[in-house]
């Protein structure tokens, strides 16, 4: 069976200046490989321009890392193979979707814990306010309010 070819052009690169435009073509044996590749380059960080993923980055290193990911996939590697290759060399830092582990537990559960704590605090505050009786106005208070309301200057 002739393998079906899927060609990807990095239209993302069109955002770059005219001289810098280089379009990469990668052909895959099947849809799964292509999907895996696209998924991975969106999830891996470019270590050169650290706020971009491999798909978005124009840095030469990002291109090399994309090529490496492609090579691993095309030679039958799995998602874990690519992730392992990259983390072995660049550490957990390359993963935009960090693994769930002892080192990253704060990243994963931190926001939820923070939300829970804030909710608890809020509920406690509301309950406390409901319980506290509102002191009735004294005659002196009423008098001063009346005075204010009756005064002509605004």
């Amino acid at each position: 069976m002739i393998p079906r070819l899927f060609i990807i052009a990095f239209t993302l690169l069109l955002f770059a200046s005219a001289q810098a435009v280089k379009i990469e073509f990668h052909s895959f044996e099947n849809k799964q490989q292509e999907k895996l590749y696209l998924q991975l380059i969106a999830e891996l960080r470019c270590v050169k321009c650290q706020n971009q993923n491999l798909a978005e980055s124009n840095a030469e290193l990002a291109k090399d890392m994309r090529d490496k990911a492609y090579q691993i996939i095309i030679s039958g590697g799995t998602r874990d193979d690519v992730i392992k290759y990259m983390t072995d060399r660049y550490g957990e830092f390359v993963l935009y979707r960090p693994r769930f582990g002892l080192k990253t537990i704060l990243l994963w559960v931190g926001p939820a814990v923070f939300l829970l704590l804030s909710l608890m605090f809020l509920i406690k505050l509301i309950k406390k306010q409901q319980k506290e009786p509102v002191a009735p106005l004294s005659e002196r208070d009423r008098e001063s309010v009346r005075k204010l309301l009756d005064s002509k200057d605004t």
């Binding site: 270590v47 050169k48 650290q50 030469e60 290193l61 090399d64 890392m65 490496k68 983390t87 072995d88 060399r89 660049y90 550490g91 830092f93």
Partner: protein, 183 residues
């Protein structure tokens, strides 16, 4: 005074403290996951001896340095004198890995001219034309300098151009310590 009055103040101070700490953190200094692990293998053609190759395995048994550089890299030029002095003083075998430079379309033999003009302090210079050995070593940007012990374990990584103070305070003491270790 009500103690609660101080809570926002303390929270602010804590946040400011964290941000101040963040400022002193250089995101470019990615800790190398190779420290304490065997040096990644390569077998690359030599620039200084055409026709011959050099592999990481060839360096086994001695403390050695791997320096990633390129002729197009300005800070490599900046570290060149400091690095050459270190190599001469410590007589430390240093392999220069010429990263995406020699033989490429853009740079041709600029690396050779670079060595001819500035001097070649290296024990051997190997050519990594397509940068794949660089990636195997986890390159982020040249120059990068690795120190290996006698067992071929990566013990230290210096990111960016080496400067005299780092050489005197960190590199030389480390080299001397590693040389005393068993092979």
């Amino acid at each position: 005074m009500n103690k609660k009055f101080f809570i926002p103040l303390i929270a602010f101070a804590a946040l400011a403290g964290l941000m101040l700490f963040g400022l002193s953190n250089d995101p470019k200094l990615i800790p190398s996951p190779f420290i304490g692990k065997p040096a990644p293998e390569f077998n690359l053609p030599r620039l200084d001896k055409p026709g011959e190759t050099l592999s990481v395995d060839d360096m086994k048994g001695k403390v050695w340095i791997l320096n990633l550089w390129a002729s197009w890299c300005v800070s490599c030029r900046a570290e060149h004198r400091v690095l050459s002095d270190l190599i001469a003083k410590e007589k430390i075998p240093t392999v220069g890995l010429n990263y995406k430079d020699y033989g490429t379309e853009d740079y041709g033999d600029a690396a050779k001219q670079w060595l001819d003009t500035l001097g070649n302090p290296y024990y051997a210079v190997v050519i990594d034309k397509d940068g794949m050995a660089g990636i195997d070593w986890g390159v982020v940007g040249v120059p990068e300098t690795f120190i290996m012990d006698k067992k071929g374990i990566v013990r230290y990584k210096f990111t960016g151009p080496v400067y005299q103070e780092a050489v005197d305070k960190t590199l030389i003491p480390l080299l001397e310590k590693l040389r005393k270790e068993e092979g």
